[in-house]
């Protein structure tokens, strides 16, 4: 736990994150795994950039179009698609792991199976359209959340709500109408996922009359606070150039 005065951001950011996680879903999900208090969670969320931001800083395709405005628009669209891809990777791996581990039963298991397949389809589509510009799949560590049904449901609520807010935040920034149409098609499905898991978690499926869009930095900070995305330092290094010392 870092001291308050070590952090990059002040109380304003904490307030923002408190608003973002209005249901306490993410904070409580994390608490159940890490034993962190809500204050700890919010403080950790304020700690600076890591692997996630590094991944999102991946360069977009070099612009070939002569029109600089068009080129900038294309770059921005591809950057938004990569941001969407990162969130889809996260959700796809989250559901897939829970399904593989057979953590859930009955309706929760069905929800994870169906939604996981949707998220994997989103990943496939976004990777297809981004081609060589697509960011690589990060390594994830769900810290046991996918192995505890209640923690899984609470965190799934937070991830789906975040996903909806993230797509809504980027929609107006998409320059290409055909990309926007595709993004809207995904957004509405994410909203259905959110209401499905909210119902299973005992929450009101549609809690408010208006979904607040969320800007990328806020979404990224909240995702970072989960520690689900492994930093490069924590990624497994399984090969080496050392000489073998096996029995021969």
């Amino acid at each position: 736990m870092r001291r308050r005065d070590d952090m990059h951001d002040g109380p304003e950011l904490e307030l923002q994150l408190a608003e973002l996680d209005a249901d306490d879903a993410l904070a409580e999900g994390i608490e159940s795994v890490w034993g962190d208090s809500r204050a700890d969670f919010l403080a950790k969320a304020a700690v600076g950039s890591g692997a996630l931001l590094a991944a999102l800083a991946a360069p977009a395709a070099p612009a070939l179009a002569k029109d600089k405005g068009k080129a900038k628009g294309k770059r921005q669209d591809r950057s938004i698609l990569n941001y969407a891809l990162l969130l889809e990777y996260l959700q796809a791996d989250f559901y897939t792991e829970a399904e593989r581990l057979k953590t859930l039963k009955n309706e929760s298991a069905r929800q994870a199976r169906v939604v996981g397949a949707h998220e994997r389809a989103h990943v496939k589509a976004l990777k297809g359209v981004l081609g060589g510009d697509a960011i690589k799949r990060p390594s994830f560590n769900f810290h046991g959340v996918t192995e505890r049904p209640q923690a899984f449901r609470r965190t799934a609520v937070a991830l789906e709500d975040l996903s909806v807010a993230a797509y809504a935040g980027q929609g107006p920034r998409i320059q290409s109408r055909p990309y926007l149409v595709a993004a809207l098609g995904i957004l509405s499905v994410e909203a259905r996922h959110a209401s499905w898991i909210r119902r299973l978690a005992g929450k009101t499926p549609a809690a408010s009359a208006f979904d607040e869009p969320r800007p990328k930095p806020e979404v990224i900070r909240l995702v970072q606070a989960t520690h689900f995305v492994s930093t490069p330092r924590k990624r497994a290094r399984t090969s080496s150039k050392r000489s073998p010392r096996y029995t021969g």
């Binding site: 897939t96 792991e97 399904e99 593989r100 581990l101 057979k102 953590t103 199976r113 169906v114 996981g116 397949a117 949707h118 994997r120 389809a121 989103h122 496939k124 589509a125 297809g128 359209v129 390594s139 994830f140 560590n141 769900f142 810290h143 046991g144 192995e147 505890r148 290409s176 109408r177 055909p178 990309y179 149409v181 595709a182 098609g185 995904i186 492994s230 924590k234 497994a236 290094r237 399984t238 090969s239 080496s240 150039k241 050392r242 000489s243 073998p244 010392r245 096996y246 029995t247 021969g248």
Partner: protein, 248 residues
């Protein structure tokens, strides 16, 4: 919304009956742009078996039961200074407010397993490969799912330094070293010689190439599995670290 409904109704009625010449022309909504990409049909997870492995993130004791007697220590590093990893068996269990998982251990006696706190491990990785060494037929066969994707003849341990039987896993891949004796590539396994216990680095059994292909197949080694250099290079392309290994 009422206007849209009225427009829709008007559109329906105008398509089902010819419009009267004295009616004013009514505006129609143009078709929107098509999506830039399609979302593929969601696919269920494959039914083939997968194996989970995880990195050892911190020094930890493996126990006979969750919270029980200590059976072995696990370090975050292998003797080759790569990330140590363990294959995870079965489902996690709650004990003392903590998640525990059973893992296969790279210790003597071979085939040992133990329970470690989930929080000592990194994220799960999955593989769908399985290597089987047959000591009677002197073969190595790699399966991907149920499909046999590689096979070759091998050299194994002599009678006085046998290749140990049991269930193990591949935990490191070594390349680009300069040691013709081991060929161009070597895999480190979790298996250990029960005889050469004072061998440098602990007497781990490797799977590697050779500078004496004429000796293969046969019972020629100190416990390691040797194969021709072309075969080990092919295996290097097909077999990821974390692959379970059965020596029978």
């Amino acid at each position: 919304m009422a206007a849209l409904v009225a427009l829709g109704l008007t559109s329906c009625s105008s398509s089902s009956s010819p419009s009267s010449s004295d009616e004013p022309a009514r505006p129609t909504l143009p078709a929107g742009p098509k999506a830039a990409f399609q979302i593929p049909a969601p696919q269920p997870l494959g039914r083939t078996g997968t194996t989970r492995w995880a990195s050892v993130d911190r020094r930890v004791g493996a126990r006979a039961t969750p919270g029980g007697e200590l059976v072995a220590g696990l370090s975050p590093r292998t003797p080759e200074q790569t990330t140590n990893l363990v294959v995870v068996l079965g489902r996690a269990r709650e004990f003392g407010g903590e998640l525990w998982v059973r893992v296969r251990l790279p210790v003597l006696p071979n085939n040992s397993t133990g329970w470690v706190p989930r929080r000592a491990l990194g994220g799960y990785h999955v593989v769908d490969t399985h290597l089987v060494i047959d000591r009677h037929r002197l073969t190595a066969v790699l399966f991907k799912g149920k499909r046999r994707v590689f096979s070759t003849r091998v050299g194994i341990g002599r009678a006085q330094s046998p290749t140990p039987p049991g269930r193990f896993y591949i935990r490191v891949k070594l390349t680009s070293y300069r040691s013709p004796f081991y060929g161009p590539l070597a895999f480190g396994t979790s298996a250990r010689s029960a005889v050469l216990t004072d061998w440098p680095a602990g007497g781990f059994v490797g799977i590697h190439g050779t500078n004496e292909p004429g000796l293969l197949p046969g019972r020629v080694s100190h416990g390691c599995v040797r194969m021709e250099n072309g075969a080990i290079l092919r295996l290097g392309r097909l077999m990821p670290v974390g692959t379970p290994l059965t020596i029978e």
